[in-house]
Subunit: 363 residues, 2 copies
Amino acid sequence: MTPPEALRAEHPLDRADLRARVGKALDAFVSARRPTLETVSDELVPVADALADFLAEGGKRVRPAFCYWGWRGAGGADCDEIIAAAAALELLHACALIHDDVIDGSDRRRGRASVHRRFAALHRMAGWQGDPDAFGEAAAILLGDLCLTWSDQLLADSGLPSDALRRGSAGYDVMRTELMAGQYLDLLGQVSGEASVDRALRVARFKTAKYTVERPLLLGAALAGAPEQVRATYTEYGVPLGEAFQLRDDVLGVFGDPGTTGKPAGDDLREGKRTVLVATAIDRAGVTDEARIRRWLGDPGLDGPELAALRGIIVDTGALDEVEGMVAELTARALDALVGAPIEPEAGEVLAELAIAATARLR
Amino acid sequence: MTPPEALRAEHPLDRADLRARVGKALDAFVSARRPTLETVSDELVPVADALADFLAEGGKRVRPAFCYWGWRGAGGADCDEIIAAAAALELLHACALIHDDVIDGSDRRRGRASVHRRFAALHRMAGWQGDPDAFGEAAAILLGDLCLTWSDQLLADSGLPSDALRRGSAGYDVMRTELMAGQYLDLLGQVSGEASVDRALRVARFKTAKYTVERPLLLGAALAGAPEQVRATYTEYGVPLGEAFQLRDDVLGVFGDPGTTGKPAGDDLREGKRTVLVATAIDRAGVTDEARIRRWLGDPGLDGPELAALRGIIVDTGALDEVEGMVAELTARALDALVGAPIEPEAGEVLAELAIAATARLR
């Protein structure tokens, strides 16, 4: 598989200068909300700052990119309105990440302290009363709520015509409901100890796959008033690609370089995530190895030789190879869906590049 | 002040059969969302059930009532569409309560276990792995997020014309932003230990007053396309009434009967809430009493003689009388705003009754 750098100098996520424009739209939106917060009290300034920082550090803007190219693929013209609408997905995602980090007790996000840790640090610095961690979590819950509210507002205020917004709204609602439902299912998987491959795949499908690729594409399509054939193409492309994307993420969560992922190596194992990769390893392991996996998985102190041994089991059982095979097959299915599809050529080209870039082995 | 029962047999919140109709609209909405959840997994059924239960137990539907009468007062006709739109506020409120209980670590809500406690109990009953309380909080964060998402969806799908919804959207967004901001300010008050009356009033204004009365009224007005004069009346009536409402709640949080409030007596004191009532008591107390207030306030084990002594200080300093005086004055100002106001007579009558019912002494 050719790495995207060989296809063109620029990363496909940067086509149409997308990352920069989405960043600007988010910045403008948050700036415009500052007066409302400051009317309540100037003590809200750190809240607006925390959010502006979090959004500026900003990840890869994958969901806005799929929304934008979903629109363009359906014949929508490039304009600032679709950028603003696409940027709304980044606010939704900010809520998901901020709340997820509280739920998982994750200390790091995007290579920096997670939001609840930052507010805990603010509490310590100010010498306030009570438990700094409890304050941090409370503030992060509220900031996540604000992001969720604002995501909806940014979409509504994007400047797109109201009939376009009405077309987009049903799918957007399903997307948000599926996201919360998938997160709950993920949570259940961690506490029930049920680690079947089928269950892990279902979590991957709803928590990440549809939410990351298919739903953003369909939002762009709905906003553009795309016909059924275009929407069908997006589903055929988006569902397998989203799953490939999640499986790639699972592999990175175990074997990824902290410098690239922004999280300490092996974090997913310490958090006890029942990923497809882990479920496959359990499926394939003998009695002794299965017991070792179950003993180490979810141990917050897992590191050093035990972490290395757990990784070794995942490789030796053939689970890593099997998951890599699934990634390759799912990516191929996604690319197939684009062949001869009734979408605008430039969008088709970018979607193909995105499929390759998002699933390529990084090691 | 005449209790509302003397004015008419039925409680003003039940006029136009409002509580029952809002309950039905919520029920229908959640039922219609079940298939989306169940497509993800039948393990989501308890989530839908928990939400349906929570909404059915349902409080007084105060915010939907103000939204509805805000619409009617501006000349809007009674219809199911405005009931659905008004019911959306109940979903927003459900999010606020569910997340607030996580933040405050409150065990009880509406006379039953709070949502995070219920999910912790589910965890224990199922014998799952890990910490039941952490699971309960995680599930409650996600359920609150779902409520926030759905509130927006219920408003958008209410069936009101899109120009009405567009008129309503700006105020609705400010309302949600103010709510989150007010909650953060409340949180800061608890950790900073700063308990000035001014600060407590500002929290009351944004966290409860505007959010409970003025913003719902203005939402109804905006949906109905009300002229400036009507909106001005709602602000003149709503802001003081909302503050009176919050002050009444502060008094109930210290002196209220658990059978009526649904929370253990003195919960606000154990949680260390810096209410206007408490701030006034601190202001008026001598050195010894101030030290006792500061020692007991926020002590999770506060009960028995110490709780009684703290209540005694609040009475003896004159703080209770002062707050009762403020309630009476604010209520009178709210009622004054209705005199000769350009709103429909039935709505004016109900708003007057609501002002009296919501602020009357219950002891």
